[in-house]
Symmetry: C2
Subunit: 328 residues, 2 copies
């Protein structure tokens, strides 16, 4: 392994001069710079990130923590999160590691703190946090690290939260759906009680019901397609429309309705391409997961530079998705 010292010798300059060239410091003469660069080329010198971090003590590493859905439903969202996060990290010059939440949950809070510290982690970006993930929540509350939490309303001095306005988005999509005809009795299939976003979306739905004088039936679907099917089978016939707190539940509802051979408008939430498999066109809330992850990484970067925790609201969009929109 050729080191900075070899380059210095080759170029006939001091070690620190090489360092300055490598790190683009301004105060190096054009001549020595080019001499050093020639030596770098010649020796195929490659700076050692570990040594650099050790010396400068600027180990700006960030851990991305994702919760894979067992059924493959969350995968599309998670990959978009990762895609945005990696891109953003690269742009900001942040070093990133990826952690699967279940692994973290198997450990205790001190163990995870220990692990992240040995890894020189200074910031966390946590996706899809729910109430049952006690280790992760403990990690945030310990305030040992700066954190950007996506879709969970946790804000303190060291942590920000990033998400769409779930309340408003649920309101908007249901509003659109209900504007399509005369609908009074709405079946709302909510998420699961352990999800933070569930309440916010429910609140949006309730506000719409109040304003529009709708009769609302609320059921807990737990983000499960199966549950949504069952609920639809049991209640949909007595309602004019089915509003679901997630796409996957909307697909379940739609399929059940087709089996029952009755038509009810259905809407979902998230904007997955999976929606195209529902069989009919459907309104949903399109979230820019890529952009959300991007913003979350930027936010943790800001926090690591001394920023205060805050809440960030990302834009959303109501779309109508069909099979044709989705397939490739």
């Amino acid at each position: 392994m050729t080191s900075i010292r070899d380059v210095a010798r080759e170029a006939g300059v001091a070690i620190s001069t090489v360092s300055k060239v490598v790190n683009r410091y301004p105060n190096v003469s054009e001549e020595t710079r080019s001499r050093v660069e020639a030596a770098i080329q010649k020796l195929h010198f490659v700076p050692n990130a570990a040594a650099s971090a050790l010396s400068s003590k600027q180990a700006a590493r960030v851990a991305l923590i994702i919760s894979p859905g067992e059924g493959g439903v969350m995968d599309e969202i998670n990959m978009q999160y990762l895609s945005g996060a990696f891109r953003s990290a690269r742009e900001l010059g942040l070093d990133v590691i990826t952690v699967f939440a279940p692994m973290a949950e198997k450990q205790s809070v001190p163990e995870m703190i220990q692990y992240f510290r040995t890894q020189s982690i200074a910031g966390l970006v946590i996706f899809n946090l729910n109430r049952e993930q006690t280790t992760l929540r403990g990690l945030i509350q310990s305030e040992e690290f700066r954190a950007a939490v996506v879709d969970a309303p946790i804000v303190n001095a060291h942590s920000s939260c990033v998400s769409v306005d779930n309340e408003q988005a649920q309101y908007d999509v249901a509003d659109r759906l209900c504007g399509e005809g005369v609908m009074r009795r709405i079946l709302y299939i909510a998420g699961s009680a352990d999800g933070y976003i569930t309440e916010e979306r429910l609140a949006g739905m309730r506000r719409l019901a109040r304003e529009r004088n709708l009769v609302l039936t609320e059921k807990e679907g737990g983000f499960s397609q199966k549950r949504a099917r069952e609920i639809t089978g049991e209640y949909a016939a007595d309602h004019d429309a089915v509003v679901c707190a997630s796409d996957i539940m909307a697909i379940g509802a739609m399929r059940r309705l087709m089996e029952m051979d009755i038509f009810r408008p259905v809407c979902g939430f998230d904007g997955l391409s999976l929606m195209g498999y529902a069989g009919k066109q459907m309104y949903t809330v399109r979230q820019d997961f890529d952009g959300i992850a991007c913003a979350a990484v930027a936010e943790v970067h800001r926090l690591m530079n001394g920023g205060e925790g805050r809440q960030i609201v990302m834009p959303h969009e109501i779309v109508r998705m069909t099979y044709e929109d989705v397939i490739r």
Copy 2:
């Protein structure tokens, strides 16, 4: 930041003794060991991975390179790959970074070599490599790093390949399908020409056709649901069954058949949970992506310890998937 030196002072021993305790060296007396451990607890000492790697020069880092599918189809597979890879890496004590292939492809081979070297990367695990990914292929051929390549038959002194027996698997699933009734004319919708696995699967299909005296029509579906739909619409009526080289194409074929209101048995390849949305039950090849990734990481680990490149064949399974099997 409390360092090994603080611990040594606290415990009243030398720095090297602390190091030995931390790294579980045998030659430390029970008494000093416990004294050191007490000090570690007390001071919340956490070893610094960067410093450790720098000093010991054992930076056993591995890069996982994944190709996200634009349409969200590949996401389920990729997440399973990541899941298995992370788990395996943790068990083997390997440090891991994740890289999206499109980012790598934007760079030149020397740039990527440079990047990986600064990151102390010694091994690569490459998923879903295709012929168009020239940078990645150059990276492998440079033999700068040890590599385990999933689903692409590239083997040299420093690289192994890991995959199911695609030829046999395609043979098996089509065999099962054709065993269900009297079928002579088979429509085979292959993958894309730039995918390595495409030929292998095609070869398996051809072997079956030979042995069973089938009339085979081969079309290139490019792993595209849309293409598979079109091909099905054009040719399926004249055939007895449709064999697809991927689940996503099988879904397209099945949907088209339903629209055409004719029934033809269809089979896919991969075992995605997405298959449940096809509408009917369907044979497919279930690959254990998690296990494949796990094996690939283990393999690159072996290569990094001086092993020779080789080919590893993972087991596959023919399954019949239905909507009910898949939803949760």
